[in-house]
């Protein structure tokens, strides 16, 4: 359990500081489990030989895909959860191209080459706050660990998960163990029909929230951010910019902030929308 909650928001500076002193490593982990949850998604458990370093919600790993003729660069993947007792990192993988398909094919006993843990973290509000966690598609990945850590730190989380249809919706058990889960599907096959922003949680009920976190497709995050901004509620987004190095060395992954270009891989992937330009 991470005690991130000092009763106040951690400032970006504090978080960067803590990342700066946290050390990253490159390691061959061992796949201990690969479970397909539907046509598009698998959940992979990868165990480290060593004790896991501290991992903060919103952080990611960068995976070298073996034997891919067209996967020259590493693939960044959010940390979905960790199992500290087994030293396992748990990943939610959506198959979209060659790299993610090859990762999704890994089976028990296979090695998986990762650089981790990377990136900053979502901020944890004061105890007693209410937090809305909005995930769309594979963007739900960092929400699970975030929800757990919020709860551990005395914050009340609410999940709002969107999907195209119930066939590719996540299994909800793990989320339900932590908090209430609301669902929207574009075809109405489960939960409320429409986008996440059509849900009461993003409308009437939004006022109750002290903070909104979101990760998912860009248009979704922008729509969520617009609603939060409108109600003047703090909102953090997790961006999925293209990355080459993942460790702040190449400056490829920049996002336009009010203080100029910042690296999504080290100064993000989590940003407060008030710091972003054109959000």
């Amino acid at each position: 359990m991470h005690d991130l909650s000092q009763g106040v928001y951690m400032s970006k500076q504090q978080i960067l500081l803590c990342n700066y002193t946290m050390s990253k490593k490159v390691e061959l982990l061992t796949v201990t489990k690969n479970r397909r949850i539907n046509d598009e998604y698998v959940i992979i458990h990868a165990a480290s030989q060593d004790k896991l370093p501290s991992i903060y919600p919103g952080q990611f790993v960068d995976i070298k895909v073996e034997n891919g003729p067209n996967t020259f660069l590493r693939r960044p993947i959010s940390i979905h959860e960790v199992n500290e007792s087994k030293n396992e990192i748990i990943l939610l993988i959506q198959e979209v191209g060659e790299g993610s398909r090859l990762i999704a094919k890994l089976s028990e006993g296979d090695s998986i080459d990762m650089i981790y843990p990377l990136g900053n973290s979502f901020t944890i509000p004061a105890k007693g706050s209410k937090a809305l966690l909005v995930g769309g598609g594979v963007g739900v990945a960092p929400m699970l660990i975030l929800g757990r850590i919020l709860k551990d730190n005395g914050v009340e989380p609410f999940f709002l998960l969107g999907a195209r249809n119930n066939k590719i919706l996540m299994e909800l058990d793990n989320y339900e163990k932590i908090a209430e889960v609301a669902v929207t599907t574009e075809d109405g096959s489960q939960g409320i029909k429409g986008f996440v922003t059509d849900h009461p949680l993003m409308n009437e009920d939004l006022n109750q929230m002290n903070i909104v976190y979101t990760c998912g497709p860009d248009p979704m995050m922008r729509a969520v951010a617009a609603k939060a901004k409108n109600k003047d509620i703090k909102c953090e987004v997790s961006l999925e910019n293209l990355m080459a190095c993942g460790i702040g060395a190449c400056l490829c992954c920049v996002v336009d902030t009010k203080e100029g270009h910042k690296c999504t891989c080290t100064e993000g992937p989590v940003f407060d929308i008030k710091d972003l330009k054109e959000w």
Partner: protein
């Protein structure tokens, strides 16, 4: 014990393995993975006289066995480097080079002059070959008169090791190499990135905000090796070879083609420990081939 030290025209490196500008940050980014002091040298990020925000996102596209970048020399300017970064990295026990870029000769000169004052920076790499900014760099490096003009101007004010980085986007790299050597370069590094382009067919859009960008990685290795070989046969100053080096074998190929030292760029993104593996692999090769001095590899290609 094998000798790994190489001499770049009076400047000694403990081994021939350096890192390439723009791919290794200021070294600090890799401290978690390797001991920077184990490297022959590092070339830090492209530095300009003034702060530059670089190009808009997207700046990167993956390509077959390589990548395009269009970072566009994002950096906080030479004064920030001197005040904020230099103090943090000057303790590295490795050859630290600053990659100096600019859009006008006066900018190059002013930047080099400032860096000349830094005790623990034994050399600069003059970047006259960056393809990613309209005004900057590449235009100088693809024609002899401008390449000579900027080299001569910097040579006048810069008293330490002056390495000049050549562009591969030219008809005859030996012409530029000879001209730059004549203008006072202490060594030549090559290649910078090849000008390339990627398109997203589904979106019908260029993959980079700047449409074109710089190609690096193993895909460029055959072109880079050829240019190192050509330049080696045309000039006397030492050559620092790069372009797609992923492992010790690649590094040795560059040395056989004539490189006295090599730089590793894009490969750092794939494996942040690649530099150390390359140093170890070179030692291993030397053992297997009974070579005691790494300098014996330089230009050692057997062509009958």
């Amino acid at each position: 014990m094998v000798n790994l030290a190489v001499d770049l025209n009076g400047l000694s490196l403990k081994n021939p393995v350096m890192t390439a500008s723009g791919t290794f940050g200021f070294g600090e980014e890799y401290e978690d993975f390797i001991n920077i002091d184990d490297l022959g040298g590092i070339v830090v990020k492209g530095t300009t006289l003034h702060h530059r925000e670089g190009n808009p996102y997207p700046r990167m596209a993956e390509t077959p066995s390589g990548m395009l970048n269009a970072v566009g020399l994002q950096n906080k300017g030479v004064d920030y480097f001197i005040s904020d970064i230099y103090p943090r990295i000057k303790h590295y026990n490795t050859g630290i080079f600053v990659n100096v870029s600019g859009s006008a000769i006066e900018d190059y000169v002013a930047t080099a002059e400032k860096i000349n004052e830094l005790d623990n920076i034994p050399g600069i790499e003059l970047n006259i070959s960056c393809p990613n900014v309209k005004e900057g760099g590449m235009a100088f490096g693809v024609h002899c008169p401008s390449a000579v003009a900027v080299t001569e101007a910097v040579r006048k004010v810069y008293k330490k090791h002056l390495m000049v980085k050549l562009s591969p986007n030219v008809t005859d790299v030996t012409e530029i190499a000879k001209a730059v050597e004549g203008a006072g370069a202490d060594s030549l590094s090559l290649i910078n990135t090849l000008l390339g382009m990627a398109i997203n067919a589904e979106k019908r859009k260029p993959s980079l905000s700047t449409i074109t960008g710089g190609l690096s990685g193993p895909c460029v290795k055959p072109v880079a090796l050829r240019m190192v070989w050509q330049v080696y046969n045309a000039v006397k100053v030492p050559i620092v070879g790069m372009g797609g080096i992923m492992n010790a074998n690649d590094a040795i190929e560059f040395m056989l083609a004539g490189a006295r030292a090599i730089q590793i760029g894009t490969a750092n993104f794939i494996d942040p420990q690649v530099t150390i593996k390359v140093i170890d692999g070179i030692k291993d090769y030397m053992h297997r081939h009974d070579i005691n001095d790494v300098n014996d590899l330089v230009g050692g290609l057997i062509t009958e």
